[in-house]
Amino acid sequence: MFDQFDPAEDKMLQVIDNNGKVISKELMPGLSDDEMLKLYKDMLFVRTLDHMIVSYQRQGRVYTYPPNYGQEAIGVAAGEVLRHEDWLVPAFRELGAWLAKGVTMKEIFMFNMGFEDGMRFNEANHMLPFSVPIASQLLHASGIGYAIKYQKKDEVAMAFVGDGGTSEGDFHEALNFAGVWKVPVIFVVQNNQYAISVPVKMQTASVNMAIKSKAYGIKGIKVDGNDIFAMLAAFRYAHEYARKEQQAVLIEAVTYRKGAHTTSDDPTKYRTTDEEKEWDRKDPLRRMKLFLEKKKLWSDAEEQKLVNEYEKEIDRQFMETEQTVQYPLEDAIRYTYAEMPQDLRDQQIEHEKFLQWKNARK
């Protein structure tokens, strides 16, 4: 597959076209009808959850949020290949993979409401919290890869980054370390065309992102990130390759951020409606839906019913989270060290004395 889609020739792996028609049958991943439906429903769930969180933000019930809108296929396909023992090193726009790893809605709500407790990800085995400094997390994946190899475990680490992140030094160091060490890490670049307002052509003079793999002696492939079948085919192949060959892979998923960078951003300032319309035709849910409708597996009525169910459940859990979260003083302090220094303890005690004084004054 890596030779067939050589990034040096700027080839892109695609399975279905914009109308949901299969264009490369031989690459279509083996899936039952139920499995196909599950993929679609997972994307629909991510889209619904994403829209709901944006609306909660508009109501002032959560803080800044980075929408996944338009990029759902990548995270969902990744979640499909990641096993319980595999590692997910997230960026912040691959919700489908998070949910598949076992991150709960309540946790997602919690950290968007401003509680670090939401990043503990208790139920998600081998999942790291997300890191804000762009691309810095990729080195963690290379280190995990080293540990996997050193401990002789049958595991794979998958790490996400955006197109802007490929300009960071840590992106290059991470690929270089993984290449030299020969470790099972899959690096995924979600090329959604913009780093906030900066278009991808301002990030690199390379013909594509996947070609950067060649400089580090690892395999790379460019994939239509809005084609869930193509993403799944690429992830399955890369996962097998990383495990069996103990090698790193770079996957470029070409996509489009239909929403804003975050809820604080206004994309109308830096892109045109023509461009947005062009990408609407390539929307990952639209394309898969057309595919499923042709196979008579899905209908608008079913979709409406399911979205209603999703919304009800999301809202129920959101309100439950809103009512239960608390942030006691000690939570701001206790996790800084595994073994808390006495001085830090004293700082807390000193502040508690002030609080006692303050309360007595009332």
Binding site: S142, G143, F177, A338
Partner: protein, 325 residues
């Protein structure tokens, strides 16, 4: 017991931990095959294998960043930054991740990482080979900062650092790497992090120092003794968490305090010691506490370094001024 210098002692501590704990790995630039530019890790690759003691690509951010991943996956990496002045490319990983992962994951992922850091001046080197940047790290929540001054403490503190579930910056005073030999137990022992040591008891003035400066203070103390002054010397050993109790008790006893460090003076470790005297021993002070530290400048090249480095005469001069205040 065996006669060891600091290089031998650090090597011995690494050897002991590599032997007893398979999760310990040691790596950095030249740290594997060659044993590091100071030969501190010499022989360890041969004994413990290339999977456990190895050369990394030449990239400090990469070294620190991969250690975060290894720690999350259950290893205890001991990484080497070739010189303190080379650590700056790794700042983002150390400050954004090494120090914060425990908090960010609410205790789920511990960061048992040791960053070994040869530091300090007096070795006739180029720029970036002589600086003392411990205060920067001591200021970062989530990090612990340790500086031994003797072979015994180097071994014991490094064993504690490797066994700590918190990340530790382990500063090695390279100026005295081979200057002091001491009888050190070949058995495993540890020196606790966060405990200073009173090296000499005295009654007239408390001198607080660490690392390579201890030896300079001890030379000054010979002069002080001849002049009839009784100096109490405290070796900090750990910068953070600071052993406030030991320092405060000493200052309350002597009523006078001098800090000696080769760091730039402003906003440094010495500044914190001054604050401590103010907050904990104000009414016991008989003279203004004093910092004897370097200028707020870049460490000069070798021909100018004598202007920068703290000498025993300078320390004695300040001891006398403080006592006679």
């Amino acid at each position: 017991m065996k006669a060891m210098n600091i290089v031998n002692a650090v090597n011995d501590a690494l050897d002991i931990k590599l032997t007893e704990d398979k999760s310990v790995v040691v790596y950095g630039e030249d740290a594997g095959f060659e044993g590091g530019v100071f030969r501190v890790t010499e022989g360890l690759q041969k004994k413990h294998g290339v999977a456990r003691v190895f050369d990394s690509p030449l990239a400090e951010s990469g070294i620190a960043g991969t250690a975060v991943g290894m720690a999350a996956a259950g290893l205890r990496p001991v990484i080497e930054m070739q010189f303190c002045g080379f650590i700056y490319p790794a700042f983002n990983q150390i400050i954004s991740h090494v120090s914060r992962y425990h908090n960010r994951s609410r205790g789920r992922y511990k960061m048992p990482i040791v960053i070994r850091l040869p530091y300090g001046g007096g070795i006739n080197a180029l720029e970036h080979h002589s600086e003392s940047m411990e205060a920067i790290f001591a200021h970062i929540p989530g990090l612990k900062v340790v500086v031994p001054s003797t072979p015994h403490d180097a071994k014991g503190l490094l064993i504690s650092a490797i066994e700590s579930d918190d990340p530790v910056l382990f500063l090695e005073p390279k100026r005295i790497y081979r200057a002091i030999k001491q009888e050190v137990s070949e058995e495993k022992f540890s020196v606790p992090i966060g405990k200073a040591k009173v090296l000499s008891q005295g009654t007239d003035v408390t001198v607080v120092a660490y690392g390579a400066m201890i030896r300079e203070v001890q030379k000054a103390m010979v002069m002080a003794k001849e002049a009839g002054y009784s100096v109490e010397l405290i070796d900090l050993r750990t910068i953070y968490p600071l052993d406030k109790e030991t320092i405060a008790a000493s200052v309350k006893k002597t009523g006078r305090l001098i800090f000696v460090g080769e760091e730039p003076r402003s906003f440094g470790v010495g500044s914190e010691i001054m604050a401590l005297a103010n907050e904990e021993a104000f009414l016991h002070l008989e003279a203004p506490p004093k910092r004897v530290a370097a200028f707020d400048v870049i460490v000069p090249y070798p021909r100018g370094e004598h202007h920068y480095m703290i000498t025993p005469e300078k320390i004695f001069y300040e001891i006398e001024r403080t006592i006679k205040f």
